[in-house]
């Protein structure tokens, strides 16, 4: 009898734990999966299948420190592109133009979640609220 009660309790607890986790995890997975599609359509030609970039022409997306330090600017980079801006990524300087991309804030959030958690990066989710807030402060 006692065993049964403990068993049921254990099952209940694990269900609660799993469902709590999966709320966050589900959201992350949804962002990540959709972000991969956006990446393939809008970013991959230049930045490469593995975020490797191209020599000193196109910066790689593998520099976690750069991504972390510029976390609040990334959405602006995606939407507005870059014009003759000097950036240092992975110990290399890049001065080039990145074209602006016409996509919705939710797609920006998805693609940032994808690239921030691919190519060796592990920076967690960038949600759409975060992107909307950042887009108010583009330099």
């Amino acid at each position: 009898m006692k065993l049964k009660v403990i068993g049921v309790l254990l099952i209940l607890i694990s269900i609660i734990v799993i469902s709590c986790q999966s709320d966050d995890e589900l959201e992350f997975k949804r962002y990540y999966t959709n972000g991969k599609v956006v990446y393939q359509k809008k970013c991959e030609n230049c930045h490469g299948k593995n975020g490797e970039g191209l020599s000193n022409l196109i910066p790689p997306l593998t520099d976690s420190a750069y991504l972390k330090n510029n976390k609040n600017q990334l959405a602006c980079f995606v939407i507005n592109g870059m014009k003759s801006k000097l950036i240092v990524v992975a110990h290399k300087s890049f001065v080039g133009d990145m074209p602006p991309t016409e996509i919705a804030p939710i797609e920006v959030a998805e693609v940032l979640t994808y690239l921030n958690n691919s190519f060796g990066n592990k920076l967690g989710i960038t949600n759409v609220e975060h992107v909307n807030a950042d887009l108010q402060h583009c330099k």
Binding site: N45, L54, N56, P99
Partner: protein, 218 residues
């Protein structure tokens, strides 16, 4: 019994010939013409293959480059522009692997024609080459009159592609790599945006080099 053995022998010989053919020759694209020559009193039919016409461009060092500069070279040609945001980076990422593979081969070159000569001046091309990490004379970035580049691209290099496809124009934008032999005949077309096709191109360059070396030996 003896008949059967002969038959098997013939079949074996036939298949042996076939596999040899497949291994060592690449097709020759373009229009063909035949001429009949009389040598030692016998009429001999000779096939004349289409070759690329004379051209004149400037490379990233400001040197003038003509078809004579490529004499005796196997080369790969493509079309691009430095500010191209779509397929050019992927093409040149792939072309870079070809460059790395063959950059020390003296009779091999890569030529990339810009289709935006107004923006892609010699200075811009040199800066692009430096950033791409290419040195020396095994990969030339060529600039010239826009009409001449398009003419060369659509009327000459991509002529076979045009025949296959049937629709006019736009081919210089489609990311083709064209393989040209030492006689300036087109020997292959490859989609420069597809890694598998680029692997095939590398193999075909090796085949073509082996073929020309045998020809010279003979």
């Amino acid at each position: 019994m003896r008949k059967l053995a002969t038959l098997i022998g013939i079949v074996l010989l036939y298949t042996a010939c076939n596999t040899n053919d497949n291994k060592t020759t690449l097709p020759i694209y373009g229009n063909k013409d035949t001429v009949t020559k009389v040598i030692d009193g016998k009429a001999i039919v000779d096939t004349i293959y289409q070759t690329l016409p004379a051209f004149k461009f400037v490379n990233q060092y400001g040197d003038s480059i003509t078809n004579k500069s490529l004499k005796g070279d196997i080369y790969v040609a493509d079309f691009f522009f430095t500010t191209c945001p779509s397929i050019c980076p992927i093409m040149h990422r792939n072309m870079l692997t070809i460059y790395e593979e063959f950059k020390n081969v003296p009779d091999f070159k890569i030529i990339s024609h810009t289709i935006d000569p107004k923006h892609d001046s010699v200075t811009v091309l040199k800066a692009y080459a430096d950033k791409l990490g290419i040195k020396g004379n095994s990969w030339w970035l060529l600039q010239g009159k826009k009409e001449e580049t398009y003419q060369l691209g659509e009327k000459n290099y991509l002529v076979a592609v045009k025949q296959d496809d049937g629709t006019p124009g736009g081919f210089v934008h489609q990311g083709w790599f064209v393989l040209v032999d030492k006689q300036q005949r087109i020997r292959g077309y490859y989609d420069g945006t597809v890694a598998k096709e680029v692997e095939k191109l590398v193999a075909d360059i090796k085949t073509l080099r082996a073929e020309t070396n045998t020809e010279i030996a003979q």
